[in-house]
């Protein structure tokens, strides 16, 4: 797998990681926090410090719900979820055509599936 650079991740995400003041509000807001190996606030400093490889190999990028709570609540406008999404995209793009098409959705539906999950799945796999 080709490892993206920090600059590429920042460019895709449109995020300036230097703005982060390390308050941890992203991690405090995250509903998937306990599922993650690398936590939202760590994503910001990993990108800032250039360790994108660890992020591309982490399971956090698949655990993020794309609920954007961290984006909403970040006081510095850093948008950790966008960084996570950028890392996820750079992995997905290398895997070829494994994205979700609308035709597949009806088969996957059941009453138990929350709408948020569909939204999040589309955000993740329709790029």
């Amino acid at each position: 797998m080709k490892i993206a650079t920090s600059d590429e991740i920042r460019a895709i995400a449109g995020v300036d990681t230097r703005k982060c003041m390390k308050c941890g509000k992203c991690s405090a807001s995250c509903p998937a926090y306990n599922e993650m190996d690398i936590r939202p606030h760590q994503f910001v400093s990993y990108v800032q410090n250039g360790d994108v490889e660890a992020l591309m190999n982490s399971k956090s990028i698949w655990k993020c719900l794309s609920c954007f709570a961290c984006v909403e609540r970040c006081p510095r406008d850093v948008k950790p979820a966008k960084l996570i999404e950028a890392v996820r995209l750079s992995v997905i793009r290398q895997r070829g055509e494994n994205y979700l098409s609308p035709d597949e959705i009806p088969a996957l539906l059941d009453d138990e599936t929350p709408q948020q999950l569909l939204m999040s799945a589309f955000r993740k796999y329709r790029k």
Partner: protein, 662 residues
């Protein structure tokens, strides 16, 4: 015809060693207009100055050029000499041939050539000099202080103690401000009202201080030394002279369920009320929105019970006009609205409160008599969570980008006091950074941690919600342990960001004082003139200029008072004559100059002009010489070339350019 005299200084060998002064005299004496040129060892000496005086008188000079050191050094000296000789001091120019020539060049020929060019430029400028006279304006020996908090109180006391009259305008019914709402003060933990109340009494009793409470500044005119201010005294419906402050009206008032502003809405007050027991003046006001008499025309109980007959429902707002020499802004602050911060659950739960509400809750005169309880059910809390930086250091549209400065310290104070009064209560503080610069501040914070076992957690809270058992659920991060914390709490206290008073911008517009994007007043110079506004005669005291704690506020208040006293001590103000001037014949009234003026010195007036025999009224720019500092921003902004700067006119600078480039 101009008659210019040029004097070239040797400055010992400082100039003469590198510049051939004789040659400079020789060349410059051939310049058109130059009728006298000489050189001398030390022009700034008594003898040297006498040479200038003699030449002015004997040769009837109309302008003088001194080729010497920097004008920053001796311009004043030579101007005085010129004045002594009967020449207008502003018809003298300095050519700097020491700092900007002899000292930096080694080659004599080169340096001499440059000295000649600099002298020529000065001659070209002096040719176009016009006699200038500094204006004079009067100083009204009275100061206005806007805002009656600790900043305003201290400023007023210091000015009044120096012997000048002071008026305080306060918009609420009593002076005292935010400090009167506080329980204890850091880092010494002395009771806020115990130290403030004597000051309030002093202000009230001071013969030089006049307090207008329940009043607002309506308009400001004039300029430094001579302001004219309209003050609206809102109707209290209680006669200040008759009221004895017995409080019977408040006891009997049947409209009792109105939220108390002083207690931040945590308790109720009557419709006729004084905000708090130690209010100054101790005269109630009637809140007409909630008064039964004003709503229905019935009731009138307060009027009936008042033995002094002070209640007067027919009172009207009154606008008074007063003159002042100086104005001090001390408008203070408020906490920001938390409407955009729903994650903290403030609007949803009574048990989530701001720290200012916590102050009231802890205060013995507060809504619970000083007992810290859950406001939803009055129960004793077991866990209290403090959250820092709520809305501070937040660059999104929800918060404020700056650090509110006081929160770290008052949070440590409140946490410490809770642990002191209730050792059974667990106290947790979520922080991003603990900022405690200040005398005994860090020691104070460490005491909270080390002696009082306050649990400081490095991380911010992401969400506060209600737990199924009715308590609050706080979800935050602990960055040092790299874990997410979910804890139950009974009370959550938000260290809410502070912001300048809502009315401050309106006031700044009236005063033509500048403000930053956060609505804090800007100072004339960030380091060297921190208590003055760029607008002459307007001074800043307290949080209106930037977040401050009480000691800093008092220090700044005193500093502002000294500046005011320094101004009021003058009998007359001399104004800098090098000010901008607009030519009404060229001015097209576009207002470009008004927009760039940092001092609000430019206004627009209808003036009669005679344009080549055509008499008409035109709407043109007029510069107030007392306010203009002479920066020249307007002269460049002016599209029609009507605006010019005396002493640095367009023609003069162009003449210098020509002289240098020729």
């Amino acid at each position: 015809m101009q008659r210019i005299g040029v004097f070239v200084c040797h400055c010992g060998t400082n100039i003469a060693a590198t510049v051939d002064v004789k040659k400079v005299v020789d060349v410059i004496s051939k310049e058109p207009g130059v009728v006298h040129a000489e050189d001398y060892q030390y022009m700034c000496s008594e003898t040297g100055q006498q040479k200038v005086i003699d030449a002015i008188q004997n040769e009837h000079l109309t302008g003088v050029v001194i080729c010497s050191c920097s004008p920053r050094m001796h311009e004043g000296t030579f101007r005085k000499a010129a004045e002594k000789a009967g020449l207008n001091p502003y018809q003298l120019e300095i050519a700097n041939i020491r700092e900007q020539c002899s000292w930096i060049h080694k080659d004599m020929e080169e340096a001499t050539e440059k000295a000649v060019i600099l002298a020529r430029a000065a001659v070209a400028k002096v040719m176009l000099d016009t006699p200038l006279t500094p204006g004079e304006s009067r100083v009204v020996k009275r100061a206005l202080v806007i805002g009656g908090g600790i900043a305003g109180i201290q400023t007023a006391l210091d000015i009044a103690d120096a012997g000048y009259e002071v008026d305080i305008v306060e918009k609420t019914p009593s002076i005292g401000g935010r400090m009167s709402q506080l329980d204890k003060t850091f880092p010494t933990l002395d009771c806020s009202s115990c130290i403030l109340t004597p000051r309030m009494g002093e202000v009230n009793a001071h013969e030089k201080i006049n307090i207008y409470t329940y009043s607002e500044v309506e308009s400001v005119g004039g300029f430094v030394g001579d302001f004219k201010v309209d003050i609206r005294k809102k109707a209290r419906y209680v006669d200040m002279d008759k009221c004895t402050g017995c409080g019977l009206c408040q006891e009997k008032c049947p409209s009792k369920k109105n939220l108390s502003e002083f207690n931040r809405g945590l308790s109720n007050r009557t419709a006729i009320y004084t905000p708090f027991a130690q209010a100054v003046p101790n005269v109630p006001v009637i809140d007409t929105a909630n008064c039964i008499h004003f709503k229905t025309g019935k009731c009138g109980i307060c009027s009936k019970v008042c033995a002094a007959g002070a209640v007067n429902y027919d009172q009207k707002d009154e606008v008074i006009t007063r003159e002042y020499g100086a104005i001090v802004v001390a408008t203070g602050f408020d906490t920001i609205s938390l409407d955009k911060f729903d994650e903290y659950y403030y609007n949803q739960s009574k048990d989530v409160i701001t720290s200012l509400e916590m102050e009231r809750l802890m205060n013995a005169a507060g809504p619970t008599g000083g007992k810290v309880v859950r406001l939803s059910n009055g129960e004793h809390p077991k866990d209290i969570v403090f959250i820092q930086c709520v809305g501070s250091r937040d660059v999104t549209c929800r918060g404020k980008s700056y650090c509110s400065k006081i929160c770290c310290m008052y949070t440590a104070k409140q946490a410490m006091l809770v642990r002191d009064h209730y050792p059974d209560v667990n106290v947790h503080v979520f922080y991003i950074d603990v900022r405690t610069p200040g005398k005994n501040f860090d020691e104070f914070y460490r005491r909270a941690v080390e002696e009082f076992d306050v649990d400081y957690i490095k991380g911010q809270v992401g969400k506060v919600s209600e737990a199924p058992n009715g308590r609050l659920l706080v979800q935050g991060s602990d960055l040092l342990d790299n874990r997410q914390i979910k804890m139950e709490a009974d009370l959550v206290v938000l260290a809410t960001a502070i912001e300048p008073s809502k009315d401050a911008r309106k006031l700044a517009t009236m005063l033509t004082a500048s403000m930053d994007t956060n609505d804090f007043f800007t100072e004339a110079h960030a380091k060297l003139r921190p208590v003055e506004s760029p607008t002459a005669g307007v001074f800043l005291s307290g949080v209106c200029q930037g977040p401050k704690d009480i000691p800093e506020t008092v220090a700044q208040a005193g500093a502002a008072a000294v500046k005011v006293v320094g101004l009021l001590a003058k009998d007359k103000l001399t104004t800098n004559p090098c000010t901008a001037e607009s030519n009404p014949l060229f001015c097209n009234g576009c207002a470009s100059c008004e927009k760039v003026c940092p001092y609000g010195a430019i206004s627009y007036e209808d003036r009669q002009v005679n344009d080549h025999g055509i008499r008409e009224t035109r709407h043109v720019a007029v510069v107030n010489g007392a306010l203009c500092h002479g920066c020249g921003a307007c002269t460049v902004a002016c599209p029609s070339g009507a605006m010019d700067l005396k002493g640095f006119s367009n023609r003069q600078i162009l003449a210098e350019v020509d002289a240098i480039c020729r």
